[in-house]
Symmetry: C2
Subunit: 358 residues, 2 copies
């Protein structure tokens, strides 16, 4: 069975599937590009592996393929976007474009989003700002998998934060990370290998440390960045909470344990206080602070100095945020994307179901 | 020897010392309030314990007691403030007031600051937004004590992030934390008790884990939030880097290993690329996103739901960020502030030196 696919082949396939569920040509293309950016950058858990999940959300009536996305409240530098239950992959681009528009006018733009769905990787939207000589910020809440410090209840999603910062001759600085010690995708890798997870990644249903990679299926929780109180898990809990409040409470979306689950078969939480899931985007024009060239020269200096920071092991230099992903992207664009058998079968099933070519 | 002091007594003393070094009446009062907010909130490492350090910076010519603080570049929602080497305690209030002014006009305000000095606790400035029905954000870079993942070189400060968010009937949500696993103040507590530090807080000069609470004096480093690669210290490194870039690179201040040290006796780094240390402030008007009352009702719901999250130990409920500090503040305002002998002697020396009453 074939395992390696070119980017263009996957792009065409994903776009066709989104068209089959009713998306416009433009939206389908946008959603396909945004979804595949995860695979290109090596975050395989958030890319085509989730395509069938998005389709099931549409089948369950939770994704609107033809949303009327609109700004429902705004000031010159801020606004709230209602995603009309559209694909997060489409809503998020709309919202970040609004933030960029505002930044062009008044220096910065900040958009909180309600009534959306999962949007893939946060970094993709933060990176939209780079070609505009802007700093981009993107975050989203997500269904609860993470227990706050001292709790055994799942209250927060893995709530990622992405920040993309332009440089000059160097590649941009791109941070994109879940506010947990380990992302769920890392547990899934160890599940497939039938290996235990390290201490400090997760706790079981009683709140005790566990090495069981399957603990989430048994009522366990992921741990906030920091792992335990002694190593400042309350800081990871605070970070996840800030993302939740900026994305959910500020927009009128759901928040905390009320954020709708990604798997369509899980019943929705009761007494939901808002609409859909929430995101938050920011765009800051560099030259709204100082001349862009001065900034970029200093960013080059920052990057070069950190790259040269004394390594503990001479064979493992300090990593500049975003560089590993940029290298993977370059490699995969040239050499194609390897899909594991499970994901490939999933796509083949979709191909058959919708009568489109993979 | 007397150990407990009323807030007003300490306020009057600190203000008098700042007047003696040449501050105006207004600046001295502001600096005293901002410095003492650390003691009031229980962050004793950042309050009056540092007063003599500020005085030594002034003696070394690094603090300008009569700065001409000004906005050197701006757009409707952004700007850069030059602190003219003033006390960070004064510069930071000026800058956050600018951010608030801009938020009143265009929904949000974002100020990056160059040519400043240490400003006490970040939370104090974020909290300035609460009475305006705004969300406040404050961060600062600081002299390098933290090694990036894979490095044995100090490249980043403890670079704190503070976010203050208004609620309705509940107390506001206030997060204020260093982007390291342990703040330096925690090491100092264990130094005084002559106890070892836990694994994962610091590494020695060779980059190896250490339990030596004095390791920073021997060339060791603090570790980014996450502690080690397996527990995602690269996320703490990215957070600290974002604070450094927003505070230092965006403003034209120093950044990374070039941030000036707090102790006046330490020589300044060579080839410094900017001016002084940098801060970053943000203010977002709640009603620039949605009606403030709707937001506050949802924040009350958020806070109550998280407070009731199932605890692991019924005697240790989940903590709402900011609540412990609010309780300490209430207690200390009523019962006075206890100073340890070392700090009290430090203040008595200042009292003698400047001929002011403690």
């Amino acid at each position: 069975m074939e395992k390696s696919y070119t980017y263009n082949r996957l792009l065409s396939f994903v776009k066709s599937v989104f068209i089959k569920i009713g998306c416009t040509e433009n939206d389908a293309m946008l959603a396909a590009i945004n979804l595949l950016s995860a695979d290109l950058r090596g975050i395989d858990s958030h890319g085509v592996a989730r395509l069938s999940g998005y389709v099931r959300l549409w089948e369950a009536g939770r994704v609107n393929a033809t949303p009327q996305i609109k700004v429902i409240h705004e000031t010159p530098s801020t606004g709230v976007v209602d995603g009309d239950a559209g694909l997060g992959l489409v809503v998020a681009s709309f919202a970040m474009n609004k933030a960029i528009e505002k930044a062009k006018m008044v220096g910065s733009g900040w958009i909180s989003v309600q009534n959306s769905n999962h949007f893939g990787i946060a970094g993709q939207y933060a990176m939209m700002c780079l070609s505009e000589d802007m700093i981009g910020i993107a975050m989203t809440n997500a269904s609860a998998l993470v227990a706050p410090t001292f709790s055994k209840e799942r209250m927060l999603g893995t709530n990622p934060i992405a920040v993309a910062i332009p440089a000059g001759e160097e590649n941009p600085f791109i941070a994109d990370f879940a506010t947990t010690t380990a992302a769920n995708g890392k547990l899934e890798i160890l599940q497939r290998k039938q290996q235990p997870i390290p201490d400090g990644w997760a706790q079981d249903i009683d709140g005790l440390n566990t090495n069981n990679a399957h603990t989430l299926k048994d009522g366990g929780s992921l741990l906030p960045l920091g792992s335990d109180r002694e190593h400042s898990s309350h800081k990871g809990y605070m970070l996840g909470s800030i993302v939740d409040i900026f994305s959910g409470v500020l927009s009128g979306a759901n928040f905390g344990p009320w954020v709708p689950p990604f798997p369509a078969y899980i019943t929705m939480p009761e007494n939901m206080p808002g609409s859909g899931i929430g995101h938050f985007f920011g765009a800051m024009r560099i030259d709204a602070f100082r001349p862009a060239n001065d900034f970029k020269n200093n960013m080059d200096l920052w990057i070069r100095r950190f790259r040269e920071a004394k390594p503990i092991d001479p064979n493992q230099p300090v990593v500049i945020p975003g560089e590993p992903e940029q290298n993977i992207q370059k490699y995969r664009m040239e050499n194609g994307l390897e899909l594991n058998e499970e994901v490939e079968n999933d796509l083949l099933n979709l191909a058959k179901k919708f009568n489109v070519e993979l």
